[in-house]
């Protein structure tokens, strides 16, 4: 059974879970299986939050057999096709899931963890974080999405829909742009659609049409 594995990483309050749920809803629209767990628990902020999205589908109408049905909540190392990092450090924390064919969409805007505020640790420069990710993944796409979201849409959380738009262009998602848009439309916020389109235009302007 072919699979496609995506990860979203960030910190509490950024919208990691929401973005993951949108990617999963798109699977229902596309009529394929999806699973994947998330790290939640408590309403506390500023902690690491990540969610796993595993798409699975049947090839050539073949039904799943007991050996190949996965629907697992977790991922083995080196098996993510896509990592969306809403915060650079939190993307690096999940580097163990990357391989040379992985695509990384990275928001370059850093959020300072408490040990760094207290002077107990240093936040690595963005170039160093990108180098870390490059040890495993080759395709890394970076923007300051927080700034784009705030300046153009008035709120940093707009970056979630922007990320979806970018992903629809730079990653080989098994769900189409139409399915992603349908999932987004169900949320009932017309502004999200604009953000999604902005994501597409960002990806096209920077890296050309796929």
């Amino acid at each position: 059974m072919p699979v496609y594995n995506a990860l979203v990483a960030g910190i509490g309050g950024q919208g990691v879970i929401t973005l993951g749920t949108l990617l999963k809803k798109a699977a229902l629209k596309a009529g394929i299986h999806v699973s994947g767990s998330e790290r939640r628990g408590g309403a506390q902020r500023e902690g690491h939050v990540s969610t796993i999205i595993r798409y699975q589908w049947h090839e050539d109408g073949r039904e799943a057999d007991e050996r190949h049905e996965i629907c697992s909540p977790m991922l083995p190392a080196g098996s993510a096709h896509l990592l969306i990092g809403l915060e650079p450090l939190e993307a690096a924390r999940l580097a163990r899931y990357l391989n040379t064919a992985s695509t990384v969409i990275l928001n370059s805007f850093p959020l300072t963890p408490i040990p760094v505020k207290l002077g107990e640790a240093k936040y690595p420069p963005l170039e160093v974080i990108i180098e870390m990710l490059q040890r495993l993944a080759k395709r890394i796409y970076t923007w300051n999405l927080t700034e784009i979201a705030r300046e153009e849409f008035g709120h940093s959380r707009a970056m979630n829909a922007i990320c979806l738009g970018i992903a629809s262009r730079v990653a080989d998602l098994p769900v189409s742009e139409t399915s992603l848009l349908a999932a987004l439309q169900e949320e009932g916020r017309p502004a999200d659609i604009e953000c999604f389109r902005r994501g597409i235009s960002l990806a096209d302007a920077e890296y050309g049409q796929k």
Binding site: K24, S72, M74, G78, L111, P113, P115, K117, Y123, M132
Partner: protein, 642 residues
């Protein structure tokens, strides 16, 4: 959430917990209760959101798990199919009724759902609740997929009635919080009103009657074990290899993926869905030609114990290995299953996986940790900060369970212990009775206090203990997503509720010193703490401040442009770090421009609690009516926050 009421055969996106709730709906339950606890909380949230659309259905968030399970027992006796959910440690509190339920049996089907937490990502422990079944004798199901979570739970109701035993569903957090597609089944018609049918022989356990019911319980479990009813929960995947895998729960999925990655398509797998009573006959059939059995499971080897025990009784000759390969603590994952099966088979883990794991772990260990902290505007930040300021850290500080558990994390590092609910004051009084000279301060949240803290406090007062109890009354069960607490008096839609008068309750328990302080006035809170610190006996401060997430929800429709803004006046700020480092509110950020580094308050995330204004020793934080965004601010400063 509405999708959970869709008709049969539709496919929806559901969380494991929602699938379990849907099973309750399909079974036509009339009663649900729980004390909120991660990872099981969303089961209750689902019922809370749907309760008005379910006829003849009652739900409650109970004071604690003991009350919750006893309530469900009563509802079941009165003929309503009932469900109780709890986190794994909740079973300790519910264990008393759980131990009687086998004796008494049920009326209508009763299912107990336990959300377990291997890895303790949202708990103070990772106890393996499966062992409880060896002494409660309650049948134990371990679903692995979202679909199984629903299907097993639904099947459990009918079997619970057939054998007059409550069934336990054990769902690890990775299943509770797995979100994926779920195929729905038929919703059974709901029963009407309940009717208690007396059954004195069963329900009244005393002397010889208790002994007879004990035996009867064991007989019913034995009947279930011998029956064909347990077969459908298990699956044997055949193969010709001389060794096989026995697994349960989500670990089955990790094992199957690992076998596929290693190309081991001939290894037979026994996936056990009911681990108590154990399907012995199926083990015999599975193992008859095997030389070795490898067990892949989370935590302390319950499945391994069952296989070894039943294997011994069956006279199986094969070797059984489990916990030698996968540690009994921490959460199992696909990489651990891969490693274990690679070691047993001698097959190499593919290079792209082993390299990613080693390089990835090296990267993760080289970057700063991200520790969770209180939300922006959290009343607990103000309380913990005030305690540290008042005591100068020259006090023993007890922790407890709730959002304020994070008082132990940087920058505060302010709590010395945390184990179970109400460990704070309960342990503090013991410390005070043996001559400790430092003052003792101990925290408890409003919901935790009502869970089991009233007895602790009554005991401490009656025995003249010495401690300052700070009740952090944020008006909600906040940590688990804002369920109503006994003190909730105003809902997020502005609805009035009859919250308990906490102060009156404390007085009734015999407390002589009770003071109530608004936490967002930090200097006043600090001085009240300093004043109470030096007094003898039990002193109580109710640190009152609503969870900011809830007050924000209530004020969602007030456009921030017309609200109030807190800003740091750069000319007055001495960069002393009181707000940025010691108070540590995440909405206070650092930036730099040509003049130098400075602190600022992020307008987008600040919730305007005002606590930082009272913390600043230089009066540099001011309240203004004008958005700072509208003033000229250096472009660069917004770009870099360091």
């Amino acid at each position: 959430m509405e999708e959970l009421l869709r008709p049969q055969n539709e496919v929806i996106l559901a969380m494991g917990n929602e699938a379990i709730a849907r099973a309750g709906i399909e079974a036509g339950i009339g009663y649900f209760s729980m004390y909120p606890g991660t990872p099981a909380t969303e089961i209750g949230q689902t019922f809370e959101n749907l309760k008005d659309q379910l006829p003849d259905f009652y739900m409650e968030y109970s004071a604690n798990e003991h009350v919750s399970l006893n309530g469900a027992m009563g509802a079941s006796w009165a003929g309503a199919r009932s469900m109780v959910a709890m986190k794994h440690v909740g079973m300790n509190v519910a264990s008393e009724p759980a131990h009687f339920l086998g004796y008494t049996g049920v009326g209508a089907g009763l299912v107990i759902v336990i959300g377990s937490d291997p890895g303790a990502t949202s708990s103070t422990g990772e106890q393996d609740d499966r062992w409880y079944s060896l002494h409660t004798h309650l049948p134990l199901l371990e679903p692995g997929t979202i679909q199984e979570a629903k299907d097993f739970t639904l099947a459990a109701f009918a079997l619970s009635e057939k054998y007059s035993l409550p069934f336990v569903i054990n769902a690890p957090s990775r299943l509770c919080h797995n979100i994926g597609d779920l195929r729905l089944g038929r919703i059974a018609p709901r029963k009407g009103r309940g009717e208690f049918k007396p059954n004195y022989q069963r329900y009244f356990n005393l002397f010889g009657q208790a002994v007879r019911n004990h035996q009867d319980c064991l007989d019913r479990v034995a009947a279930l074990a011998r029956s064909g009813d347990i077969l459908a929960f298990n699956k044997i995947i055949s193969g010709d290899a001389p060794w096989g895998v026995v697994t349960s729960s989500v670990n089955h999925l990790y094992a199957m993926e690992a076998l596929e990655i290693l190309g081991l398509f001939d290894v037979p797998v026994f996936k056990v869905g009911i681990t108590y009573p154990f399907p012995s006959a199926q083990l015999q059939e599975f193992a008859k030609n095997l030389k070795k059995i490898v067990i892949i499971e989370d935590l302390e080897g319950f499945l391994e114990y069952q296989v070894k025990r039943h294997g011994f009784e069956l006279g199986l000759k094969c070797e059984v290995i489990g916990k030698e390969l996968i540690p009994p603590s921490g959460e199992t994952n696909p990489d651990m299953a891969l490693e274990a099966l690679s070691r047993v088979s001698g097959r190499k883990i593919p290079e792209h996986i082993s390299r990613a794991a080693s390089v990835g772990d090296e990267i993760a260990s080289s970057i700063p940790q991200r520790v969770a902290t209180f939300c922006i505007g959290c009343p607990h930040r103000a309380s913990v900060y005030a305690v540290l300021a008042a005591t100068g850290r020259n006090a023993i500080i007890g922790g407890d369970i709730g959002c304020y558990t994070m008082a132990s994390l940087p920058p505060f590092r302010a709590a010395e212990w945390c184990t179970c609910m109400n460990c704070g004051l309960s342990a503090a009084q013991g410390i005070s009775h043996v001559g400790e000279s430092k003052p003792i301060v101990t925290f408890v949240g409003d919901s935790t206090f009502f869970h089991s803290g009233i007895q602790s406090l009554q005991n401490a007062i009656a025995n003249n203990a010495d401690a300052l109890l700070i009740i952090l009354d944020n008006r909600w069960v906040a940590m688990t997503g804002h369920q109503k607490s006994p003190t909730t008096s105003l809902g997020v839609k502005g609805e009035r509720m009859d919250g308990i008068d906490l102060k009156a309750l404390l007085k009734a328990l015999g407390a002589t010193r009770v003071r109530m302080v608004d936490v967002f006035d930090v200097p006043r809170l600090r001085s009240v703490i300093a004043d109470e610190l030096v007094r003898p006996g039990i002193r109580i401060i109710i640190a009152k401040g609503e969870c900011s997430l809830q007050s924000l929800r209530r004020e969602r429709y007030v456009p921030p442009e017309y609200g109030e803004f807190y800003t740091i006046v750069r000319e007055r700020c001495q960069r002393c770090g009181a707000c940025y480092k010691e108070f540590g509110c995440p909405a206070i950020m650092e930036a730099d421009d040509e003049v130098g580094e400075y602190y600022y308050i992020d307008e987008e995330t600040c919730v305007r609690c005002g606590a930082c204004k009272t913390v600043c020793p230089n009066s540099a934080i001011v309240l203004s009516r004008l958005s700072p965004r509208k003033e000229a601010q250096p472009e660069e400063s917004l770009r870099s926050n360091r």
